[in-house]
């Protein structure tokens, strides 16, 4: 396709000649794909992610889950640039240990969220290229979901999708969990079984249309009894 670069200011085609060496800047980021989803229920929280790690048109790994266990009651899902995901989770783990040693207690989900916000903002001018979603139980035992942008802005939600297929999943969740755009429907509270089923179905649909999502789905269910993990196969093409 003809690009704007071949035309000058007045609309005439630019003279084609060798204009000297062109500097190509090294990009420190790359996009490794992946989708993350978190849902908060009455007494549970679910964090789910696909397990495909890709770059360009290739697949690096079919088994690289994006959910990381932080404490017994908190799981974080990170998608975006894999290098920054790994570094960020290492930093969070270290900070959790430091907190435990100086305060003699485990960090709560809300505290982790607040801390993550400051960690991300400290790199405001060379950000971590990571889309984070924290899912866990708050102090009262209710499900909590915190969603972030790459530089640390966050808020508490009931449900949130992040990553490459987020634009496809979020409207479906708005409809099924938030009962948006529907009338004459009973607003039943979300049970754990229904939530898990919904998450599986929603990822099956995302894998159909998003090339970066697929291979397998890892679901982490956080309840007061601990964290349970489930793996479901998805499309591999």
């Amino acid at each position: 396709m003809l690009s704007a670069a071949t035309y000058g200011e007045n609309g005439k085609m630019k003279e084609y000649h060798y204009s000297g060496p062109v500097e190509h800047r090294f990009s420190p980021y790359t996009f490794n794909g992946g989708t993350v989803l978190a849902v908060a229920g009455e007494d549970f929280a679910i964090v789910a992610s696909d397990t495909r790690l890709s770059e360009g048109y290739s697949i690096h790994s079919r088994d690289s889950p994006k959910c990381y266990k932080l404490t017994d009651r908190t799981v974080i899902g990170c998608s975006g640039f894999h290098g920054d995901c790994l570094t960020l989770t290492k930093i969070i783990d270290a900070r959790l240990k430091m907190y435990k040693h100086s305060n003699n207690k485990t960090m709560t989900s809300g505290a982790i969220a607040a801390m993550l916000s400051t960690i991300l903002y400290s790199r405001r001018f060379f950000p971590y290229y990571v889309y984070n979603i924290i899912g866990g139980l708050d102090e009262e035992g209710r499900g909590a979901v915190y969603s972030f942008d790459p530089v640390g802005s966050y808020q508490r939600d009931t449900y949130k999708a992040g990553g490459s297929a987020s634009a496809m999943l979020q409207p479906l969740l708005d409809n099924q969990i938030g009962f948006k755009n529907m009338e004459n429907v009973e607003h039943l509270p979300l049970s754990q079984e229904k939530a898990v089923q919904l998450v599986k179905d929603v990822f099956i649909s995302a894998a159909e249309r998003d090339v970066y999502t697929g291979d397998a789905l890892r679901i982490c269910i956080v309840t007061k009894d601990g964290i349970k993990e489930e793996t479901v196969p998805l499309r591999k093409d």
Binding site: A4, Y57, K194, Q197, I204, D210, V211, K236, D237
Partner: protein, 278 residues
């Protein structure tokens, strides 16, 4: 007869470049505000072809992508050119579709005017001359295969107009994966079963290892006097089974306003036509 102020000319065939300058200026202005020009939909494909004992087999996947979103899960990439010549297209979807249709009609006219059956080398020459004329602006990478009076032939043609005549070829974003399979197992003069399996495996490799390819494997077997289009030949990428029910009852969508406009109809003429229902 309707008289118009400007005399209307018959549409000139070929490409219309009226909007090129306008688009270039718009792109320049809009990029400052963060808008991007719309991108043409590419097929992001795996296509392959081999010559076996009795003819030619062409294979293709069936995914069409819009950047990195799947636009069509089951599109047809094997195009008909002549009854004995078929063409797989990769690259920009519209370019591959239209250029093969153009060549198909040109070839039919050529066959009628020469009074001879169409040959694969003729299509290849017409295609490469057209692609070179447009200096790569037509983003179509093609694999042309067929069985004509001189035997089976297979050509691969690149967007800038170069071509290769080979016993096995692959094109598209998944070509590396497919070629790996070919280089491992290709032998000259294979039997039909073995050849079909080889092309299926090559396209399957592209489907699983390349993000731009997916869904099903289509095959086209061209031998002396017969063509078999096997669509789909195989479906390695199966859709997952959903457990929930996502149907909505009547009345779920809110009706905000309702206006009824009766259209007055006057009976002018009545004709009765009997249908023989026996």
């Amino acid at each position: 007869m309707l008289l118009s102020a400007k005399p209307s000319f018959a549409p000139v065939g070929g490409f219309n470049f009226e909007n090129v300058r306008r688009n270039a200026m718009l792109e320049e202005q809009m990029s400052g505000q963060g808008f991007k020009a719309p991108k043409a939909r590419k097929t992001g494909t795996t296509i392959a072809g081999i010559i076996f004992k009795d003819g030619v087999i062409l294979g293709a996947d069936t995914r069409a992508t819009d950047d990195m979103v799947v636009a069509d899960k089951n599109c047809m990439k094997i195009h008909h050119i002549a009854p004995n010549i078929y063409c797989c297209g990769a690259g920009v979807a519209a370019d591959a579709d239209v250029i093969t249709q153009m060549m198909s009609s040109q070839l039919q006219l050529h066959a009628l005017s020469t009074g001879r059956a169409a040959r694969v080398v003729t299509v290849t020459r017409l295609l490469k001359q057209m692609l070179f004329r447009y200096q790569g602006r037509i983003g179509a990478s093609l694999i042309v295969g067929g069985y004509d009076v001189t035997g089976p032939h297979l050509y691969s043609i690149y967007p800038h107009g170069s071509f290769d005549k080979l016993p096995y070829v692959t094109m598209g974003s998944g070509s590396a994966s497919a070629m790996a399979v070919f280089e491992d197992r290709f032998k000259p003069n294979m039997e039909l079963e073995e050849a079909q399996r080889l092309v299926q495996d090559a396209i399957t490799a592209g489907i699983f290892c390349d993000l731009g390819s997916g869904s099903n494997v289509d095959l086209c077997v061209i031998s002396k006097g017969s063509v078999d289009i096997l669509r789909p030949f195989d479906q390695p990428g199966k859709r997952g089974c959903k457990h929930g029910q996502y149907r909505y009852k009547k009345g779920t969508t809110a009706v905000l306003t309702k206006t009824v406009t009766p259209i007055a109809v006057e009976l002018v003429e009545e004709t009765v036509q009997r249908m023989d229902t026996e």
